[in-house]
Symmetry: C2
DNA sequence: ACAAATTCCGGAAACGTTTGCAGCGAGGCT
DNA sequence: AGCCTCGCTGCAAACGTTTCCGGAATTTGT
């Protein structure tokens, strides 16, 4: 059906190997013949079959991105950064949604392996058992994770400086004079969020007059924010500031607080984390910690590309991005 | 390196062809030998090389999704629906961001072709020239579009009933008593949005006392909404209701209106289209037209799968989803 | 009990590339 | 003038599967 390298070879009167070399710009083929072959290939609209090439070279020129849910704005940004970088390098990016389901995650790992992807970009392996993690790393394909992981040394990692992000939030709230503070965070095994919490409570504890925040765990999405905020109001009605571990959770807490008649920021200050586009859109505009999502995705595939470059994966690479506080209107000084 | 079918064959004392048949569950292999082969394969942790298989079968078990930008919430939803459906069928989904750039779009088409994807899910070909469109359809791979397209018959399509969506919006605003109405829409060649506009103005014109809305074209995102709203206030300060062609644009117009001191919905009613999750989150909660984004993505790959099923692509399929008005708090009756 | 049909399995071609190796001619060096 | 080198090209193997075809073994039918 399609025109193959053989057709080009026949049509231009040379051997397929010559065609291959000419088209791939290798040394050892005369300029004239190369020109001729290229011309014929163009005339025939020859398109190399990358599957066949992949079979012999062992490289598929494909990367995979497995996230919990692409509808999460954070991952959408990361995905865009990753895809752009992959595109520039001539790689494709296959998208996988794991919902953080261990079984799904492993099945994706297997399937991607069978398809011989050259590298995998994964948001977390925290939900996997030790054995499953080893199984993954034993797949022989470089993997970069989107959070710092416990067993450093096996996987590469790219992430924001979550810990100082948490510290920044604490500092800011402290500066505003808040003393009754809560932190609404995600599931317990969520690496990035635990780091945010860690930095947050550490900084609060290190204050001249230390404060111990209320800590609540829940789902990392809008609904989770709503639920946690309701719980918070029931259990600790006196908090004046809450730091949510993600913008989506912050949106949820704002919603719940408002519905309960609290004003933001007059009655309670709310902070988020991520700085998604919507953070500047909602009302009130959300004060939050910015992390460079697009750049994270980009950096991740760059690392991946380097890793696949040097055959057997050398030592993993790690990269951490700085975060910064972006001050908007969801926080204010504690009223005296 | 990896264990191949030959290893399994040698280890289990049968021919590779038998292994292949046994593992693929074909007829013509004794139950005992199949069992044995399967056991050996499992013991050796054999994973078939899908690249090799793809080379001979001509099927890569891969679909592609090319959207303008995955960060667009609409596409993120569609992508999730598509990926879920693909996953269920054992297919992979490669993600491409075109920015609606014709060149990028064509390059993706070529590249995906070379990789022998089995089908392509594309949001629009409107920016492509006639010739480019033919080139795409001549690629020999089924393509389904996310909007109704002019030259019906070549591509399959899946979309919401944008036209009656527009009509619903008109009807609603009319019912609320509005007479000075504006419609903020996207770029002129945006298929779905022109349909929305069409339904909208048609319904307004069909009213007992027909009204002709102000029509403004701009970018389909938050910033576009801001700009259009500003322009609108300058040119037609007397409008009492605006229908934005997407939720993101609606968010932008709300922002611009509020900053100009207008109250929503007391001074001006605002409607959107899409019903993204955020629509219920922002303040005020946005009245909008719901379209089933997830289901659209899902349906699109289902069609694709059917199309690749029957080898040479038969006639294209078309599917349209119903929309519905979801009433929240961004609209109210025109004050007498 | 013999022909025919059926079941099971092995051999080998094929898919479309890349790539190591060898051959061949021409040109440079001594 | 002979030899070596070097640039260019063809040949063929290899990548890991699937699948067509034919043969052997077994079952069925009469």
């Amino acid at each position: 059906m399609a025109v193959t390298i053989k057709d080009v070879a026949r049509e231009s009167g040379v051997n397929v190997s010559t065609v291959s070399r000419a088209l791939n710009g290798e040394y050892g083929v005369h300029a004239d013949t190369r020109e001729h072959v290229v011309a014929v290939a163009q005339r025939l609209k020859y398109r190399p079959n990358r599957v066949a090439r992949g079979l012999v070279t062992g490289r598929s020129h494909t990367l995979a991105l497995v996230v919990s849910d692409i509808r999460n704005l954070f991952f959408a940004e990361v995905a865009r950064g990753a895809e752009d970088a992959a595109y520039r390098a001539g790689y494709d990016l296959v998208l996988c949604n794991s919902d953080l389901d261990p079984e799904k995650q492993m099945r994706y790992g297997q399937s991607l392996m069978e398809k011989r992807v050259d590298g995998i970009l994964m948001n977390s392996v925290a939900v996997l058992s030790k054995k499953q993690q080893e199984q993954l790393s034993g797949l022989g394909v470089p993997i970069v994770l989107l959070n710092r992981t416990a067993p450093r040394g096996v996987f590469s990692t790219v992430c924001a400086d979550n810990e100082t992000g948490g510290a920044l939030a604490a500092e800011y709230l402290l500066k505003l004079g808040h003393r009754k503070i809560a932190h609404l965070t995600g599931p317990r095994h969520h690496g990035n969020m635990t780091e945010r919490a860690k930095g947050f409570v550490a900084r609060l504890a290190a204050a001249r007059r230390p404060v111990r925040p209320v800590l609540l765990h829940g789902k990392n999405n809008f609904q989770g924010g709503v639920e946690l905020a309701q719980k918070l109001m029931a259990q600790h009605p006196d908090v004046t500031a809450v730091f949510a571990a993600s913008d989506m959770m912050a949106f949820g807490t704002i919603r719940a607080l408002m519905e309960a008649g609290r004003r933001i920021p007059e009655d309670v200050s709310v902070m988020g984390f991520d700085n998604v586009e919507l953070a500047s859109i909602v009302h009130p505009p959300l004060t939050t910690i910015h992390q460079p999502k697009y750049e994270i995705g980009q950096a991740a595939v760059e690392i991946l590309l380097r890793l696949v470059g040097r055959g057997e994966h050398q030592g993993p690479e790690h990269r951490m991005f700085a975060v910064e506080l972006v001050e908007r209107q969801s926080c204010m000084e504690r009223k005296a």
